[in-house]
């Protein structure tokens, strides 16, 4: 396992929205998915995950409902709302512009 990176708050929101864009998922699943896809680089602490989920829910970008998980246990599933999908597109665009800009700056300094 490589070194883990703490996520910025805005970044975590983006990752959650992106993860939920694939399918509705419960909190644990979201954390696992982010960890897996990032090759265990991005570790999501519960102390930030659940507050983020509640924040996003309050803003109306994700919805939640209780249903039964794969092994028949009650779990709270989160899903992307229409507003959330729009927000995801917006944030993805911003992210790309931001990372491109940072990359530019960094390259300049190296060169």
């Amino acid at each position: 396992m490589g070194e883990q990176i703490d996520l910025l708050q805005g970044t975590l929101d983006l990752l959650i929205l992106k993860t939920l864009a694939m399918e509705p998922m419960h909190g644990w699943g979201i954390a696992q998915r982010i960890q897996q896809i990032s090759d265990e680089v991005l570790q999501v602490g519960q102390g930030s995950l659940y507050p983020a989920l509640h924040r996003l829910e309050q803003r109306g970008w994700i919805g939640s409902e209780w249903s039964v998980s794969d092994n028949n246990r009650r779990a709270k599933f989160y899903s992307l709302t229409k507003a959330g999908a729009r927000q995801l597109q917006k944030e993805l665009g911003e992210w790309e512009r931001l990372s491109a800009a940072i990359a530019l700056v960094l390259r300049q300094q190296q060169g």
């Binding site: 419960h26 644990w28 519960q46 659940y50 507050p51 709270k76």
Partner: protein
């Protein structure tokens, strides 16, 4: 309540439940994953918990996201607070008890202050109601105004809704079963309009009622209607006999009406027996209602413009006057304002001591709670949350204290009304109204914050590792001890200041009790009467009546002697006269020489015990046929005849109502025939004034005060004396039947009240600060038991240990006394106007207060010190 539960179920409970379920689900998934990864169940669970981080922290982080959780966590705090308080019932009981005492005392005194200083009358915008005075030069206080001046003000002013004359004087009511005296008021016909008061039945006065020649009309209060006329439904329109003349009752005031001057019957001003439309005849008080939106300054300027014109046009009668305006409320409360505010300040100080005491209790308890706080903080409770938790606990205590305080205040208020003097206007109206309840709620919350903040801040900053590792004895000891010492010092300081204040008031009151009024006040019975002018028209007739009752009363068994005087000392009656003295010409515009003046029958001086110094007292020959005579007091002789024997000198009086008979009417001269001892007249605090007496028979008056020296208990003769008066005239009412000792008591009652209250409060403060010192030292001894044990093991003797603790206590008390002396000097200055013959820096009061404080402080330190000497080194050290 039901709705609240529903709301809670809807918003709060499921959310909390949700969150818990979600967390548990997450944890279980984590454990499963760990097991799947090859760990055993125990290890999987442990790892999962570690990965999960603080459950509490996660939950709180979620809570912080959502605003509605403030309510929820507050409810949690309160629930937790209640639980904690129930776990330590003795702390809770002591804290709530002390607090109830403090808040109760504050509430009681505040409600008295509220009822007196902010009395509500049944009057629209009562703060617009003012008294108008025409002082000359340095005169202070309310002065009387002449009818013509009033009419000029009334016509020319632009800033008042109404200006109205008022004069209070008793009015005889006859034609009923028993002759009776009513508290009367002679007022302009716009008086009720000025107050904004309407009649309950009939009408109040109409414009024109106060014109000479109008039908005589009267307005009575609801109470008079009920008590004197048996609630007669036909009273409006009926004729009644007032001062021996028929008046038609035109109106009855509403029930429960409260007015600033509580008269029983009102009649138009021009029926006042000495009503004169002359500028030099200043007889009435002038009241006014300032227009809404107009300030008192504007109104004063307005009337002063008119006054200046009056001074120019009538320089003789209006020499040197200007107009001053005072709010009626301020005027009525000016005498009691300082004592009441002093008490309010003192009781607030007691509350501060209470706060310091409870804060110290909380701090002491906090030592035991340090572990608990550390555990909660380790479990992830944020510092803000901890502070909030502590504050909600102290607020709970404060709320409980506040509620018990209100109950206690109710009882205290009853006691307060009992010790409050008769004329001291704490009436039944001193109730716990909304303003008072708001005040109590306010101070309860404030005290909760006051005694909660220090411990809260202190304990939320625990050092986790040391607190959890079990070293509770030493953690934060020094810093907390410093705070607690400061609290004790402040308590002692405040107590000392209150003790000094109380001591000064006690000394002052003692001075009042032992003051010499200039006559012998015990065994004197007195009553007043006013003859109807229509029945006793001539001065001789009036004079004959006075003489007749004196001789009848003197025959009553038990009576030593009797006399008639116009203004008995301390009765509230007094008169002043302006004189010309021989060989001392008065320049133009000068007032002449002033003296208190009284009318007396020949027996007066021997009856009350004013000693004759020189010459003679009045005799039966000093009547309308004799030449005018006067008797002066020693103070008069000293002031106006410093180097000359006054006997045989002649004074000329400048006032019209004296020496109004026969030959003396023209000359207005009287020869000084005697010098008597000086006596106090207006009140017991008065400096001796120059006094001059004239013979009743030469300056007859319809008003008289009968004064009787008795061989037995004076009030026991009141009926016999009254019967003797009625044997002269069965229709003549007498009133104000009382003893001279009662008059003195009444006069000193506010002082007595202030003294009792201040003593009670300072005693309370003393006890509380002694408890505070004791508690603080006991706790310190407990905490330092190990240190003391070590000292003793190393050879310290019991007396060394005793000294150690005593010294510590005395240091605190010494610091408190030093600080308190500064406070005492300041507070003594604040109450200096209440003191009689005692300087605010009175050494005796200061020394006594310091002695009491130090003694009590030593006792409070000695008990814990003695306990410290009983520390068993073995037991104390075994813990190690």
């Amino acid at each position: 309540m039901k709705l609240f539960k529903k709301l809670r179920a809807r918003f709060i409970k499921p959310k909390e439940q949700d969150l818990n379920d979600e967390m548990r689900f997450h944890l279980e998934k984590e454990i499963e994953a760990n097991v799947a990864g090859g760990m055993n169940a125990e290890e999987a669970r442990r790892r999962a918990l570690i990965d999960f981080g603080g459950v509490q922290q996660a939950r709180e982080a979620v809570h912080r996201v959502s605003a509605r959780n403030v309510l929820e966590s507050s409810l949690q705090d309160i629930r937790f607070g209640v639980r904690m308080l129930r776990k330590s019932p003795s702390f809770t009981a002591i804290a709530v008890g002390i607090l109830a005492l403090g808040i109760g005392a504050n509430t009681a005194i505040f409600s008295a202050v509220n009822a007196v200083l902010f009395a509500r009358w049944s009057i629209r915008n009562q703060q617009q109601l003012v008294a108008v005075s025409e002082p000359t030069g340095a005169d202070k206080g309310v002065t009387l105004v002449s009818v013509p001046n009033f009419e000029d003000y009334r016509r020319q002013q632009t800033t008042f809704e109404q200006l109205s004359l008022w004069l209070g004087q008793s009015i005889n009511l006859t034609g009923q079963e028993r002759p009776d005296r009513l508290i009367g008021a002679f007022v302009s016909d716009n008086y009720f309009e000025m107050l904004g008061v309407k009649a309950g039945a009939g009408r109040t006065f109409l414009p024109g009622d106060d014109m000479p020649g109008a039908n005589p009309v009267a307005v009575v209060t609801h109470k008079v209607w009920q008590t004197r006329f048996g609630g007669d439904s036909g009273l409006v329109g009926r004729q009644i006999t007032l001062n021996n003349e028929p008046y038609t009752v035109v109106g009855i005031l509403p029930q429960d009406l409260t007015l600033p001057f509580p008269s029983e019957v009102f009649v138009p001003a021009h029926y006042y027996t000495s009503y004169k439309v002359e500028r030099q005849d200043k007889a009435f008080l002038l009241f006014g209602r300032i227009k809404d939106g107009t300030t008192r300054n504007q109104a004063t300027t307005d009337l002063n413009t008119i006054a200046q014109r009056l001074v120019r046009e009538y320089p003789k009668e209006n020499a040197g006057i200007h107009v001053e305006i005072a709010g009626v409320q301020e005027l009525l409360t000016q005498d009691v304002r300082t004592p009441l505010l002093a008490l309010l300040g003192a009781v607030a100080m007691v509350l501060l001591i209470v706060c310091a005491n409870i804060a110290n209790l909380v701090l002491a308890r906090g030592v035991a709670r340090q572990r608990e706080v550390a555990v909660r903080s380790a479990l992830g409770a944020g510092r803000g949350r901890l502070v909030r938790q502590f504050l909600s606990e102290s607020t709970l205590v404060a709320a409980a204290g506040g509620i018990s305080g209100i109950l206690l205040a109710h009882l205290l208020l009853k006691a307060l009304q009992r010790v409050s003097p008769l004329d001291f206007p704490i009436s039944d109206t001193a109730v716990l109204d909304l303003r008072v309840l708001a005040f109590t709620a306010g101070i309860s919350v404030l005290t909760g914050v006051l005694f909660g903040v220090a411990p809260a801040v202190r304990f939320s900053r625990v050092n986790l590792s040391s607190a959890l590792s079990g070293g509770s004895r030493t953690t934060g000891y020094a810093a907390r001890d410093w705070v607690r010492s400061a609290f004790v010092v402040c308590q002692v300081a405040i107590s000392l200041a209150l003790l000094v204040t109380a001591g000064l008031l006690v000394r002052s009151f003692h001075g009042l009790l032992t003051m010499n009024p200039g006559f012998t006040s015990n065994h004197l019975l007195t009553m007043e009467y006013r003859l109807p002018r229509t029945k006793y028209q001539t001065g001789v007739a009036q004079s004959n009546f006075h003489r007749a009752i004196v001789s009848r009363v003197q025959q009553v068994p038990g009576v030593v002697s009797a006399a008639v005087v116009q203004s008995l000392p301390f009765s509230g009656n007094w008169d002043q006269v302006r004189l010309e003295l021989p060989g001392r010409p008065i320049s133009a515009g000068d007032d002449g020489f002033n003296a208190l003046c009284d009318l007396a029958s020949p027996e007066y001086f021997s009856t009350v015990g004013i000693p004759l110094i020189e010459g003679r007292v009045f005799s039966a020959h000093d009547d309308d046929k004799g030449a005018g005579v006067a008797i002066i007091s020693q103070s008069f002789a000293r002031k106006y005849f410093p180097d000359k024997d006054p006997l045989g000198s002649e004074v000329k009086i400048k006032d019209s109502h004296l020496l109004a008979l026969a030959g003396n009417q023209a000359t207005k001269r009287a020869t000084i025939v005697g010098v008597v001892g000086s006596a106090k007249q207006r009140n017991v605090r008065e400096e001796l004034q120059p006094q001059i007496y004239f013979s009743y028979a030469q300056s007859p008056n319809i008003f008289g005060t009968l004064v009787v020296r008795t061989a037995v208990e004076p009030m026991g003769l009141s009926n016999a004396v009254r019967q003797a008066v009625w044997s002269v005239d069965k229709d003549q009412p007498v009133w104000k039947v009382r003893t001279v000792d009662f008059l003195i008591e009444r006069d000193t009652a506010p002082d007595r009240f202030a003294m009792i209250m201040m003593s009670a409060l300072s005693a309370l403060a003393l006890i509380l600060s002694a408890l505070g010192t004791y508690g603080m030292l006991s706790n310190a001894v407990q905490q330092r038991a190990r240190e003391i044990g070590v000292r003793m093991a190393l050879g310290a003797t019991r007396s060394n240990v005793l000294k150690l603790v005593l010294l510590r206590g005395l240091t605190l008390i010494g610091a408190g006394v030093a600080l308190g002396l500064l406070g005492a000097i300041a507070s003594a200055r604040l109450i200096s106007t209440l003191l009689y013959n005692v300087s605010p820096g009175d050494i005796t009061a200061f020394a006594l207060a310091v002695a009491v404080m130090v003694l009590v402080g030593m006792l409070a330190s000695y008990l814990p010190a003695r306990r410290a000497t009983r520390v068993d080194p073995l037991v104390a050290l075994r813990d190690e």
